[in-house]
């Protein structure tokens, strides 16, 4: 049953995403792509989840912990870099106009 709920959310998200990005002027395509890519780094929450619970409490091998820390590192680069890069692009646009 949970699977059906999850698919419901997924289906709604498809329509929401489609509605959000229709009729976007061409100049904004690149920063929009970059900004939404940064948001896709939400997997950072997943990485924090496994690092804070499963991986840390169990007395097990080191390498899954390293993999999970690597995942957190990658996701953080994705998120932080993505937002900063989008900000720089948008600042450039604004500079051109004025």
């Amino acid at each position: 049953m949970i699977l059906v709920y999850l698919i419901t959310v997924f289906a709604m998200a498809i329509f929401l995403g489609f509605e959000l990005i229709t009729k976007v002027p061409a100049t904004l395509h690149t920063p929009l792509m970059s900004g939404s890519n940064a948001i896709s780094g939400i997997t950072i929450v997943g990485a924090l989840g496994i690092l804070l619970t499963t991986v840390s409490t169990d007395d097990v091998a080191v390498w899954p912990f390293i993999l999970a820390a690597l995942a957190l590192f990658f996701a953080t680069v994705n998120v932080v870099g993505g937002f900063v890069v989008s900000h720089r692009m948008l600042a450039k646009f604004r500079g051109k106009k004025s």
Partner: protein, 223 residues
């Protein structure tokens, strides 16, 4: 604070973060509000990370004592800090003309993180129920979890390799030919590969213990 209250609180904070993302993307799509939209998205992410720390980092027992879930705070904070520093530096240093390549790399790293998260989660959930009956294993790793795990592995791997190939093309690296590589039946081969990987994911859903299958799916996705 009771455990129940914490769960509700966390769910509400996640909801706020999701709303911030939606408003952020909406504003990003109009020239006037685009910069603000990007900032709202970033705030949404910060809110989500705070929620994750409360959600997974704090444990509340029956007598309402709050304890930390992990003693590895240092490593987690170091990974967060290093990721932020690398992200900011590479985003600031990159030339305007190099931005699409940079975004491709960021995107690829996100995909890599995604399949690593799903893989490590699977390993640990399995280690908890190792040697127990199939019923216990299937309760620990129900169909919805396994569908999400399989898809994360597949999509994450495709994102990683696809993004790095996109990077190589944008950068004009010689290792990747400019023209699309095509040969007889290449579409057939791709479709067979995709169908095979989806079938393997299906098997993984039914038999979560076959953790090696997960890495085969990831490797196949990288192709």
């Amino acid at each position: 604070m009771t455990m129940e209250f914490k769960n509700v609180l966390v769910a509400v904070i996640y909801l706020i973060s999701a709303i911030l993302f939606i408003i952020g993307i909406k504003r990003l799509s109009k020239p006037k509000t685009a910069t603000q939209g990007n900032q709202i998205g970033a705030i949404g992410m910060l809110v989500a990370v705070i929620a994750a720390f409360i959600d997974f980092g704090l444990v509340i027992d029956a007598s309402n004592n709050i304890t930390f879930a992990t003693s590895y705070w240092l490593y987690i904070l170091v990974a967060l800090l290093l990721g932020s520093v690398v992200g900011v530096i590479s985003a600031i240093k990159v030339q305007m003309t190099g931005m699409p390549q940079m975004v491709a790399i960021f995107n690829g790293l996100g995909g890599g993180a995604s399949f690593l998260v799903a893989g490590v989660y699977l390993i640990f959930e399995l280690s908890k129920v190792a040697g127990m009956s199939a019923e216990v294993i299937n309760t620990a790793l129900p169909v919805n979890v396994m569908v999400a795990t399989g898809l994360s592995g597949l999509i994450g791997a495709v994102t990683l390799s696809g993004s790095f190939i996109a990077y190589a093309k944008l950068q004009g690296l010689k290792i990747i030919p400019d023209k699309p590589v095509s040969f007889k039946f290449d579409l057939v081969l791709k479709l067979v590969l995709l169908a095979g990987l989806l079938a393997l994911s299906g098997v993984l859903v039914v038999e979560p213990t076959m953790v090696n299958l997960y890495w085969i799916i990831v490797a196949g996705g990288l192709c």
